[in-house]
């Protein structure tokens, strides 16, 4: 049955209430099972040997001594993961990222792996593997990687998106461009132009649960994989392709996931664990160490960018140009392209051009991290927006409001805006008491805006009614932050029953059709849509069964507030039948009652946020503390407000960490120097204040309940909000993230002048 996904403006009974999550008890009692918490009889311990070199040719690998060690059951190298014929290029690169093929491309790149009877034996076996490396020139800095004399990492990589096509390979994978109008004419109209360069360092998603899986390949070629992932169906498809298996013969079960933030949308060690299991003919459990998580799994891009903005004296943004260079790590990605698409989305700028470069470097392959690529671009643009507002003597909020994107306007990356929340978030910020609160010495306030697309995608869900009238909703999107509670509310709302009557389960790949990942803030949006449609299909069945029980035409049965009602005067005496009544009779009225839905969830609603931040700087050390923080974001509709607030707060906290401390630090040798939580400093409880939230609800026309995604946008504004606050607190404008104590101290000592170009006043 085809359903309409349009927003209807219906009144809600349970949507918007703060119910208890179904997985809560297991998670507070230690019973919840995560990636490292599963076992199988006879399982082995898998471990991976990683390159100590930033770039090296692997001349030979001698595994004979490791294989001979008692207790070692398998040793694998790239030879055990041959490239299957017809493997798509991006999947082949993912496989090469999982296990080096002839060359180690970054410090931490896997070169071999072992499976042994215990961890001690496995560790010992790794030491017995002899790898003959020939170190090669390396490059880790994104700007350096673009230079003509940079070591070329892949001889097959030719820049796409340029005309004419290059004759020589380079590290520039692609150039992308988005924009509107004529920027030269636009800048000619500007009274004031601000042109600045910015850099941001790579960060890691920092999920507390390391990558972990339990692989079990049987001698008949079928197998199963228990894994911490944001998308078991995608992992299944990718791993089956890599291993040359039939998709249906690999069952993937997602464990509870201990954080992902984009970093578990990508396979890393899973193909290696499967290869070890295949070779050993035993189950293999493989859990990364934290060091491996940092060195070998998904960091963000490190970036370098030039931003130029022009405005007239009345505060109209007339032109903007951004050139953004994003590091992709060892394999090409789309991160520079995403920066182009997000950078100017908050504003209506008649003449703008965003140019993005995706650049490979000798670093781990970049993976998505919460609104990937948007925070860095926003750092540049939103910092320059504040400088431009100051240069024309306008309040930064009013300046943004005057230029904010509006419904019906043309975005710079393609779509015409529907109803959007940027103006509403800015008005809420302008009117918020936080903006008027007094500040003390060395304190400053800043604000900034952020944008993220949100996505829909392939989704499938089942709703089954038990014979006692309780309901099981089965979805295929992994619950990363409380979505089971939201989806239970949605099923309850549609059926007109209490939330407590619904149980939500996450399916393994053997139990449901394909679902895309939980990514792009799609979990509650897409599975919510599929749950609504599955419930509506169930209601059709319930009406048919009630009609049968009453022996009246189905057209005369309606579904109201959780019960079947016979309409029309002819049936006036029939007492309504509840879901329980109908379920109890189901074995005799046609068997199990269920509703299903398979959908490509179109109509995802874009999301905007505006943040306010107060900071205090210690002028002696350069240490900066966030003392007050407010998030205002458009949720479309908050299904479960607690977990919407939680997304806002968590995103803001990650952005604060990125702004102030977190960074990948590479030595001249191309090796990562801070692969641990002690030296890669994420915010702890004592670093942060309460993070106040304000949920705005501007319905998304493309979802029956008006839902937009909420998971990502709030990581976008903090970098610039803090930079702007710093500038207001101590008068130095920071152009390099993280704004760590040494960088701030340096800027304070130089009084900011060395780091600041003059505003060009025409």
């Amino acid at each position: 049955m085809k359903h309409d996904n349009s927003y209807t403006g219906q009144d809600f009974k349970v949507i918007g209430t703060r119910v208890r999550r179904p997985d809560g008890i297991d998670k507070v009692t230690g019973r919840a099972r995560y990636g490292a918490d599963a076992s199988l009889p006879g399982q082995l311990v898998g471990r991976i040997l990683r390159s100590p070199h930033a770039h090296a040719r692997i001349k030979a690998i001698d595994i004979s001594k490791a294989e001979a060690l008692p207790g070692v059951k398998a040793v694998v190298t790239a030879d055990d993961l041959p490239l299957p014929e017809g493997l798509p290029g991006d999947v082949a690169q993912m496989l090469e990222n999982s296990m080096a093929r002839g060359r180690a491309l970054y410090d931490g790149h896997a070169v071999a792996a072992v499976a042994a009877i215990d961890a001690k034996t496995a560790r010992k076996a790794l030491q017995l593997i002899e790898v003959d490396y020939e170190p090669l020139p390396h490059v880790t800095d994104v700007d350096a990687a673009m230079q003509p004399d940079a070591p070329v990492i892949h001889d097959w990589l030719y820049t796409s998106g340029v005309d004419p096509k290059p004759e020589k390979p380079s590290n520039i994978a692609q150039r992308t461009e988005f924009g509107l109008g004529d920027i030269e004419a636009g800048f000619a109209k500007a009274d004031v132009v601000i042109e600045r360069s910015y850099k941001t360092e790579a960060t890691h998603q920092g999920y507390i649960e390391p990558h972990a899986c339990l692989a079990n390949i049987r001698p008949d070629g079928s197998g199963e994989l228990w894994v911490t992932t944001q998308g078991p169906f995608v992992y299944r498809n990718v791993c089956a392709q890599m291993l040359g298996m039939d998709i249906a013969k690999l069952k993937v079960t997602s464990s509870e996931i201990g954080g992902g933030f984009g970093g578990k949308t990508h396979v890393w060690a899973e193909p290696v664990a499967l290869a070890l299991s295949r070779k050993a003919n035993r189950p293999v459990k493989l859990v990364m160490t934290r060091d491996e998580v940092f060195r070998a799994s998904g960091p963000t891009s490190s970036t370098s960018m030039d931003i130029k903005l022009g405005a007239t004296r009345d505060g109209t943004l007339v032109a903007a140009r951004a050139e953004m260079r994003y590091g992709d790590g060892a394999f090409p990605g789309i991160w520079g392209m995403l920066s182009c698409m997000t950078c100017f989305a908050c504003y209506e700028i008649a003449n703008c051009k965003a140019i993005g470069y995706d650049v490979v470097q000798n670093r781990p392959k970049v993976a998505a991290y919460r609104a990937p690529s948007a925070p860095m671009a926003a750092f540049g643009v939103e910092s320059a927006m504040d400088e431009l507002a100051a240069a024309i003597g306008m309040d930064p909020v009013e300046f943004r409001l005057k230029n904010a994107s509006r419904e019906g306007g043309q975005s710079h990356y393609g779509p015409v805006w529907g109803p959007i929340g940027i103006r509403a978030t800015l008005e809420a910020v302008r009117d918020h008491p936080h903006m008027k609160a007094p500040l003390g010495p060395n304190q400053g306030r800043g604000m900034a805006c952020g944008f993220w697309f949100n996505i829909g995608g392939q989704t499938c869900s089942d709703l089954n009614v038990g014979v006692d009238g309780t309901v099981t909703l089965t979805v295929g999107t992994v619950d990363v932050g409380g979505s089971r509670a939201s989806l239970g509310l949605i099923a309850a709302e549609e059926l007109g029953i209490p939330y407590e009557q619904v149980q939500v389960n996450i399916a393994d790949t053997g139990s449901l059709g394909h679902n895309d990942m939980t990514e792009g803030s799609r979990g509650t949006f897409s599975s919510g849509m599929a749950a609504i449609f599955a419930a509506r299909n169930t209601i059709e069945v319930l009406r048919e069964r009630a009609a049968k029980m009453w022996d009246i035409p189905v057209e005369d049965v309606t579904w109201e507030a959780g019960q079947a009602v016979a309409k029309g005067s002819a049936h006036g005496n029939l007492k309504p039948l509840s879901l329980k009544d109908i379920a109890a009779k189901s074995p005799k009225t046609g068997g199990p009652i269920a509703g299903h839905n398979e959908v490509v969830a179109d109509g995802a609603g874009v999301s905007f946020a505006s943040h306010i931040c107060d900071i205090e700087v210690d002028p002696e050390t350069g240490a900066t503390k966030v003392i007050r923080y407010t998030v205002v974001q458009d949720a479309g509709k908050a299904i479960h407000p607690d977990y919407v607030e939680g997304q806002f707060q968590g995103g803001a906290a990650q952005g604060i960490g990125w702004a102030l401390n977190e960074e990948y630090i590479y030595g001249d040798d191309g090796r990562l120097q801070n692969a641990g939580f002690l030296d890669y400093r994420m915010p702890v409880c004592s670093d942060l204040p309460f993070i106040d939230t304000m949920i705005l609800e501007i319905p998304n026309p493309g979802h029956p309940y008006g839902v937009r995604g909420v998971g990502e946008t709030s990581i976008v504004p903090p970098l610039a909000a803090i930079g702007n606050a710093l500038s207001n607190a101590v008068g130095v404008r920071m152009h390099h993230v993280p704004m760590s104590p040494p960088r701030i101290l340096k800027a304070l000592r130089e009084d900011g002048q060395a780091d600041r170009g003059p505003a060009k006043v025409a």
């Binding site: 507070v28 009692t29 001690k120 390391p210 201990g258 934290r290 607690d642 939680g646």
Partner: protein
């Protein structure tokens, strides 16, 4: 393989396990005793996911050897609820949505209980510093601090009633 036999008390029960000399208490609790609620986030004492109490003192079990548990008393997250009743902290973490992914939750609960055992009426700052050894990447700590404040209040009210 040489090893040690360890006799200890875990969550009130007498327990024996054998482990290699160099094995951490974290690995022993997980792999030998089956207490999988104790989580490994880093193995270097930086994240607090493996927090337990050892003779009442809050420690990272990844920094203690299994052999050191001999004759000691251990409490893990599995030991917080009593007689089918969730501890007020556990109840409060659920009602205040103080967890998202939940991997850090066992460590936070053990650390928070350790705080409230010592200080039944902590200030916000005291809570924040007492929990600074536990990393959470999902919540921004806001709802965790509120949940601990709420649980502390409930525990104080209960003990006032029973006094």
């Amino acid at each position: 393989m040489s090893g040690v036999l360890v006799t200890t008390t875990i969550n009130g029960d007498a327990v024996q396990f054998a482990c290699p000399e160099e094995e951490t208490l974290l690995d022993a609790l997980r792999d030998r005793v089956g207490l999988l609620g104790v989580k490994e986030g880093c193995g270097t004492g930086d994240c607090g996911a493996c927090s337990i109490t050892l003779d009442g003192r809050l420690v990272c079990s990844c920094l203690v050897l299994g052999a050191e548990a001999e004759g000691r008393e251990i409490t893990t997250v599995e030991g917080l609820s009593e007689g089918g009743q969730l501890h007020p902290l556990q109840e409060s973490f659920i009602s205040h949505a103080a967890l998202q992914c939940g991997i850090c939750t066992p460590g936070f609960l053990v650390a928070a209980k350790s705080l409230l055992d010592r200080n039944p009426d902590p200030s916000e700052t005291e809570i924040r510093y007492a929990l600074a050894g536990n990393l959470c990447r999902c919540t921004g700590y806001d709802k965790i601090v509120r949940a601990v404040q709420n649980a502390a209040k409930q525990i104080r009210e209960r003990s006032a009633q029973s006094a």
